[in-house]
Structure formats: C-alpha cells, structure tokens
C-alpha cells in the first residue's frame, strides 16, 4: 500500500499547463526522486501536495484515503513535511526557538518551555544523526547545519512523508555526503521521501525510484542501476545531451589580468584575501576552485570594484584598477556574471529589455544624451532573447517571471554581448538544469576562443575541471597552488581541504584512465 498517491493531477495557470495528468506513488520507506529541468513542473506539483495550490483535476490519497489538502498546516497535520530550498529560519533566534516557532510548547499557558523542546530536539538529533546544538543561534551556523534544523523542524512536527526541495543546491560536497547519511537513517526508521532535484549524479546515488518530468508531464520513470546519467539527461531535456564540454587546447596570448599581492577585507571588515597573486591570459580559462567561503566571493568583488581592496594591485591590460569604481571597470571591458543572480544580476521587477541594458543603458546607441532610445532597447532585447535562447513570452515581462535558468541566460546574454576582454563568471551554472549548463558552458568556451580572458569561480569541482585550462585552488584567502588542466579531482580536493602542495602524495596526482567525464 503506498503512503502517498497522486492520481491524474492537472494544474493550469493562465496560459500555461504546469502539470498535466500526473500520477505518482510513494511507497513506505522509499526515496522517490522527482527529476526535471527548471520549469518542468516539479515545484508546482509539490506545492499542490503541500496545499499551496489547488489542482484543477485529480486527487491525492494518503494511506489510501482520499484527502483534500487545504493549506500547509493541513499538510503538516496529515504528516507531510517540506524541507525548503530557501530556508525558512529566523537568523536571530536559536535552533530551539526556530523549531518551536508556530507550534510553541508552553508552561502555564504563557511561558515558553524551551527545555522540553530542546530535549526533544536532542532526541531527534540522536535518533537520526542530525547533530546540532539546540542553543546555537541560526545566524552562527553554516548552511549545512541550517538545513539540519529545517529537517528537525519537519520531524518535530511528526512528518512521515518528507519532501526535500533541491536539498543539495546550497551544500558543499562534504555536506552533501552528510545529508545522504541523514536521509538513509530517515528511511531506516520508516519515513518516506520525495527528493526533488535536477542533479543526475545524486539521483542515481540516493533514489530507489526516479520519475522524470518534462513540460509538466511525466515522461518516464526509472530505477538506478538500469539507467545511466546520459539516459536520464536525455529524458529530462528531450534530446541527446553533451555531457562533456567540447573544447580545443587553449591558445593563451598576452596577460589581461594580473593580480599581485592582493589583500581584501570583507564587508564586516575581516581579512578575506591575504596576499594573492595570479595572472589570466587572453584566450584561456582560469578556474578558481575552493570550498565556499575561502575568499572567492571577495576576490570577485574586488576585481569588479564592488569591494575596495586594502592593498596590492590589480592590473587590467597593464592598467591598475584596484581603486576604480564598478562603472570604470565595466567600461574597460570587464564582464561579470555574478554569484547571486537575483541580488546583483537582475532587477527582478524590471522587464527583460531593461535588464538586458543594465550596464550599458547610458551609452549609445541605447541613449542619446539623457534620452533612452526605446526602440533600440526593445530591438536589442528581442535580438538577445533569440540569440541566447531565453524562454520568455516577450521581452516586456518582468525578469521575476522567468525560471532560474532563463534568468541566468538573460545575464549571460547581457554580459557576453558587449565587447569585453575579461570575463569573470562566478558560479555561472548554480542551480541550473542540464540543458542550461551545457549551453552556458559552450558560450564560455566560445568567448575564450574569441580571445577573451576568462576567470571562472565555482564551488562545483566538476564544473571547474570541465572548463578550466589552469586551476587555482583557494584556501583561507590565498591561492595555494595553480595546477594544469589535467589535474585529478583527488589532488584538487586535498588542496581545497588545506593540505599543503608539498604534502600531496604522488598517487593523488596520477590521473585515472579515460577522459575527464563531466558529471552533474
């Protein structure tokens, strides 16, 4: 008997059929992965299950009982718990307070009974291996631990059916391993899990069963072991996907970016970059690898003028830019694909056509004096949408209405379409689906081959290996080593973990047989 069954779920929004006749079952103790590209309808389906949307047709059965889920609190009462991709936690409160929020345990009706709740949290922690200090403040916890708090919240409310929405998108590789262990212990104690993702490798590692969605429909299901990544990617995208980035050997020419003895303090005035030097040449991709939080963000901010460097020099074609404003740097031919596309990359409430000229709106041909040239801006938007394959009903819709992959394409279109000599791409494919990743990687290599110097910063080692001609590894605000393209994952991983270059064993440097396969 399945614990959960969806029958013929159909949901339409004005002009869009988000879910069409979807059938899905979840058995007790099963991990069922829901795989699909951005916009395939995974989230809509889960929002229906969580009571946020009402389906137009179809029914939901829990333990063979037909149910009508009226809202999140109703879903929780029926044992459905959701671990959100964007955490719903109050940073200035403790773990205990966050867990009890909305369901406060009290003494004498008014006094919060923190002891009782933290005792329960400890019990849950012990049972499932979710180590966390109930007294710690959320703001002091790393992302991986914050996610554990989200899971505890769900378990505290006695959920039996857990929905994980893109749980690994924000985690480091080590944290992903920890999460997988936790998931296993949840299953072992009889919970059932729906795991939403677009990462193929994880699906094959974790899931018992895989259902693939495309364009709002179930296009197939599979069992790990009977399919491989290539097959899944094909089902997801609807065509054959090139998993390896196609590229020739780089032809580096003159130095474009030279960074010497750079020191940078972060926004809270703590040292973030402590004496760092490297050079990027025209026609090569320099990858910057490292566990997140080792100064990569600050490095990019310093290079683009968003953060003042404390000392050292940044030479762009021989000219020092370390005291220049973002605009001066942009005008010298630097493009920046920012790490956080919604914070820096886009004005979400603006239409696409305005976002396409965000950095050039004041220059001809887009402006004559102070007059913006509407016709040319529209024309530019239409052309870029076509050229960069942005899926949108028109250039007049707000950027907020697009999916993550299409938002990223808007940024790429804007940054790649003006004359540049240096491209800085920070986490260029974070949270994107296979199709978009393939596309953006192709465009980056295209820029390289045109003679642009490219700096790619990514916390996904696979991405760094796939794109880079040289790889710089950052650790605690320094570059510990710069390796050639063929470096092994093991070698890089040890450097990322802080092992000194001279202590790396020879065995780790040896390449295993076969080409470097790009995996997601």
């Amino acid at each position: 008997m399945p614990v959960l069954e969806l029958r013929g779920i159909t949901k339409s929004f004005p002009g869009v059929l988000a879910n069409q006749d979807i059938n899905l079952t979840l058995e007790k103790g099963e991990i069922h992965a829901l795989l699909g590209e951005n916009g395939a309808g995974k989230t809509t389906l889960m929002n229906i299950l969580y009571g946020l949307y009402r389906p137009n047709e179809g029914e939901i059965l829990i333990n063979d009982q037909k149910v009508d889920i009226e809202g999140p609190s109703d879903a929780i009462a029926r044992g459905i718990g959701m671990v959100h991709q964007h955490f719903m936690l109050v940073p200035v409160m403790t773990v205990t307070e966050n867990v009890m929020l909305g369901n406060e345990t009290t003494r004498n009706g008014v006094f919060l009974d923190r002891e009782k709740v933290s005792k329960r949290i400890r019990e849950i922690s012990d049972q499932y291996g979710l180590e966390v200090d109930p007294e710690a403040y959320i703001k002091d916890l790393p992302v991986g631990i914050q996610q554990r708090v989200e899971i505890i919240k769900v378990l505290y409310r006695q959920a039996d059916i857990l929905i994980f929405d893109e749980p690994t998108a924000v985690l480091t590789p080590q944290e992903v391993e920890g999460l997988i262990k936790i998931i296993r212990s949840l299953i072992a104690s009889g919970k059932s899990l729906i795991f939403i993702t677009h990462k193929l490798k994880e699906v094959l590692e974790v899931a018992d069963r895989i259902t693939v969605l495309r364009l709002g429909r179930v296009v197939g299901s599979a069992i790990p072991g009977q399919v491989d990544e290539r097959k899944l990617a094909e089902m997801m995208v609807g065509r054959e996907v090139n998993l390896v980035v196609d590229k020739q050997i780089a032809q580096p020419k003159e130095a474009v970016l030279e960074v010497k003895d750079l020191f940078v303090r972060d926004e809270r005035d703590n040292p973030a970059i402590n004496g760092l030097s490297f050079t990027v040449h025209s026609g090569e991709v320099m990858g910057v690898a490292g566990v997140q939080g080792n100064g990569q963000t600050e490095l990019v901010y310093a290079l683009t003028g968003l953060l003042r460097s404390a000392s050292g020099s940044i030479l762009l074609s021989g000219k020092d830019i370390h005291k220049s404003t973002p605009r001066q740097i942009i005008e010298q031919g630097v493009a920046h694909v920012p790490e956080d596309r919604q914070k820096h990359g886009l004005v979400l409430s603006f239409p696409l056509l305005d976002n396409m000229v965000l950095c050039t709106y004041y220059q001809p041909p887009f402006a004559k004096g102070v007059n913006m040239q509407e016709k040319i801006i529209i024309q530019n938007g239409v052309e870029l949408v076509k050229q960069f394959d942005v899926r949108t009903p028109s250039v007049f819709v707000a950027a907020s209405t697009l999916s993550g992959g299409n938002q990223q394409k808007v940024i790429v279109a804007r940054e790649f379409s003006r004359p540049i000599k240096l491209l800085i791409a920070s986490q260029p494919t974070r949270g994107l689906d296979v199709g978009s990743i393939e596309y953006i990687h192709g465009r980056i290599i295209e820029k390289r081959d045109e003679g642009t110097a490219v700096l790619v910063v990514s916390s996904e080692l696979d991405e760094i290996i796939a794109l880079s001609d040289r790889i710089a590894v950052m650790y605690r605000g320094r570059i510990v080593d710069i390796l050639p393209a063929g470096a092994t994952k093991e070698h890089l991983g040890l450097l990322m973990a802080g092992v000194k270059p001279e202590d790396i064993p020879e065995s780790a440097k040896k390449k295993s047989a076969g080409p470097v396969e790009k995996v997601f």
Binding site: F13, V16, A18, L34, N38, G39, K42, T43, T44, M46, N47, Y50, L52, Y53, H84, Q85, H86, E166, A169, I196, H198, L215, G216, T304, L306, T325, P326, R327, I330, E331, P338, Q342, K343, H344, G345, L346, V347, L348, S349, F350, D354, L358, C359, Y361, Y362, A367, V370, N371, M372, R391, T392, P393, V397, S400, L402, S403, G404, G405, N406, G431
Partner: protein, 418 residues
C-alpha cells in the same frame, strides 16, 4: 513551447521581506485602487447614516415602520453625498444653463457661479499633484519622504520671500523667480536628509520627520520676526502682483495657471522617470540597490538627487499655493498637504498619471467637504475617514480581494528552482 511562461516565480528573497515596491508592482492591478475608493465611500456612507440622529430614531422604530428606517438611511446618505459631489463638481445642468445665458445675453455671472465648485476642487488638487509627485519620486528611488510637509512649508516661504521682496520686476521674470525660490527652498530641505542618508546612512524617515519640525519652528520664527508684515498678526506681506500665478477667471474663482503647471510637471516627471537615463538610475536604485551597484550606478548620488527632486516638487507645491491662491503666508499655512501627499502617491502607485488622478480625487473630496458640512450637517472629518479607509485598502489589497472575491494571484507559494 508551453513552458515559456514558467510556473515558479523565482523572486525568492525579495518576496520575504517587506518592501516598498510591493505596493506598486506585481499582481496589483488598476482595478484594486478603484475598488478601494468605492469601498471607502460605501463605508463612509454607513458611518454617515449611523451617526445621523434622524436615522437612529427611525431605526429604533424599525419593527413598526421598517420602510421609514430604510428611507431615512437612504435620505441621509443621499443628502450627504449629494452635497459632497454637488459641492465639488457643481451641477451639469447649471453649467449648461450658464453657457446658454452667456451666449444669449452676454452675461457670464450664472456660468461662473455654476463652475465655481469644480474650479475650487481643481484649486485644491493643484498642490496635491505637486506634493504627490514629490513623494512618488522618493518611492521610486526606494526612499520614504515623510518630509514633504516641511518642504512644502519651506517652498511657500521661499516663494513668498521672492514674491514680496521685489516690487518692479516684470511678471515674466518675477513669477519664474518666485517659483524657483520655492523649488530651491524645498530642494534644500530635501537635500539635507538625502545627503545624511548617502553620507552617513542615516534613515531618511527619521531625518525627514526631524526636518519637518525644524521647518515648522523656523517658519514660526520667520513669521514672527524677519518676515513679519507690519501689524499684529504673524503673517507675511502680500506678494507683488507680478509674482502671482494668473487666474483664468475673475474673482471669486481662483483657478489659476498653477493647475496647468502641475499637469506639465507631472508629464515632465513621467518623462524623467521612464524615458531618461536619470530616471532609469533612480528606478534601478529603488528596485534593487545591489544590482544598481553591480551595474555601476552611483547609489549615493541618486539618493541625493531623488531627495532634491522630491523636495523641489514639494517646494513647488507650497509655491503654487502661495503664488496662485493665498498670495501671503501665515502661521499654520499648510492644510497637511505634505502628509496627504503620501496617501496620494500610494493610491497613484507612484506613477505620475496615477498621482494626478488621485490628487484630483482628493481635491474633489476636500472641495466638497465644506459644502457637505453646511448643507447636510456632516462634519468635514468624514472625508478624513474616507481617505483613511481608501489608503488602508490600497496598502492592504488583500482586504479588497477578499471582499470582492478576486482570486489572489497564486504568487506567494514556495520558491524553488524546480
């Protein structure tokens, strides 16, 4: 392809925190302000009826004579709103008759009398348009300018000073100079909090409120000291005739060029905000300061610029009242124009056209209030109640959606990239 308009709205973080832009953008359609106004009037009608002694008496005998109770209620409301709109718009029949009389006899007195109410509404709307635009420009840059009232005051003082200081300038020089005096004084009053925000990060809400008090007390001092006219009352001298905004009709009609100027300025602000690089920068800073910084926009400069424009518009509002209507300034000169302006900007979704329409509505309500009081015995305060209700409904559109069963946009569901 069907997945073009994608289902999830990845507006993530921005949906979670309260933000000014939620008030003017997103799912908020033009239907909602109209329903807000309508609902405000309906509730206003209930208040009018419920506070009318005749109506209350009639309802006490409801079981004996239910028809009489309903009739009394209806009469009460009809008389009040009849007086309100008659007092603010006039009667079309009278206006038509006035035109006929003019053409047949050449006597325009009847026509003037007939259009008096509507011209008075436009006179009241004029400073509302300027001040509403002032607050709207601030909103567009993400700034909450509560200081329009103080800037209005300073603008009035600036223009009256220029207005009475010269006696022999030709109108073509004196009037623009007096308007500029008002703009400059208001702009200065806006620039201070703008600069403090840009330089020290001091919050503009606090600073503009403080600037209001400085402005009020400064004007008290000026009106009792340096700018006081001979005599006992704390008022200034009258401005020179050359500095007046010319009236369209003979007295007592006060409609003047200030109204036309307000419409022109509204168009100018529309052009500035939506057709120029200056406006693009202001709106970018307002909509996403991080993205503005990324794009190389100078945020600090835009904060100051927006506050200067905002203050200048509020100052122009004061100037239009002085130069077009009052011709002098006395203590307690403003009727809260700067504060009502916040409501007007909100109701008008910070769009110049919306601001003009809201200002006209406020002008009509304010213009008819006095007549409603004298004819129907309804206190003018009922207008404040209606205005307050409209603003509550505009600020909390979910109430209106719930009242009229408008399906909420399914937008605030979970955010994900799935």
């Amino acid at each position: 392809m069907t997945d073009k308009t994608v289902k999830d709205t990845p507006s993530g973080k921005q949906d979670k925190k309260f933000d000014l832009r939620h008030i003017f953008e997103g799912s908020y359609s033009t239907l909602l302000p109209l329903l807000a106004i309508f609902t405000g009037l309906v509730i206003g009608a209930i208040v009018i009826a419920a506070t009318d002694a005749t109506v209350i008496a009639a309802w006490q005998n409801f079981f004996q004579a239910p028809g009489a109770a309903l009739a009394a209620t209806w009469t009460s409301i009809a008389v009040a709103y009849g007086a309100l709109f008659g007092g603010s718009l006039g009667s079309p029949a009278e206006i038509f008759a006035g035109i006929q009389t003019y053409f047949s006899t050449g006597d325009s007195a009847a026509f003037m009398k007939a259009i008096y109410p509507i011209t008075e509404s436009l006179v009241t709307a004029t400073p509302y348009i300027f001040a509403g635009l002032a607050v709207a420009v601030g909103f567009r840059c993400g700034l909450f300018n509560i200081g329009a009232e103080g800037q209005f005051f300073m603008g009035a003082l600036g223009s009256v000073f220029v207005g009475y200081s010269f006696s022999s300038l030709p109108a073509i020089i004196h009037l623009p100079l007096a308007l500029l005096g008002g703009i400059a004084a208001g702009a200065l009053w806006g620039a201070v909090p703008g600069y403090l925000k840009a330089k020290f990060g001091a919050h503009e809400v606090v600073n503009t409120i403080m600037m209001n008090w400085i402005g009020f007390r400064l004007s008290d001092w000026l009106l009792n000291g340096p700018m006081k006219s001979p005599g006992f009352r704390p008022v200034t001298r009258n401005i020179a005739e050359a500095a007046e905004l010319p009236h369209f009709f003979p007295d007592p009609l006060r409609l003047n060029w200030g109204f036309i100027l307000a419409l022109l300025v509204a168009w100018l602000i529309y052009w500035l905000l939506f057709k120029t690089t200056i406006g693009f920068e202001i709106r970018t800073v307002g909509a996403n300061p991080d993205a503005a910084k990324y794009a190389g926009v100078n945020i600090v400069r835009n904060f100051v610029l927006a506050m200067v424009i905002s203050g200048g518009l509020a100052g122009l509002s004061g100037a239009s009242q002085v130069l077009g209507v009052d011709h002098w300034v006395g203590q307690g000169f403003s009727a809260g124009y700067g504060f009502d302006a916040i409501a007007i900007a909100l109701l008008g979704k910070s769009h110049p056209l919306g601001v003009v329409l809201s200002a006209l509505l406020f002008g009509v309500l304010r213009g008819g209030a006095t007549r409603m009081q004298s004819l129907a015995g309804i206190p003018v305060d009922i207008i404040s109640i209606i205005q307050g209700l409209v603003i509550v409904f505009v600020a909390a559109p979910d109430i209106i959606r719930w009242l009229y069963r408008i399906r909420p946009a399914e937008k605030h569901a979970l955010q994900s990239r799935g």
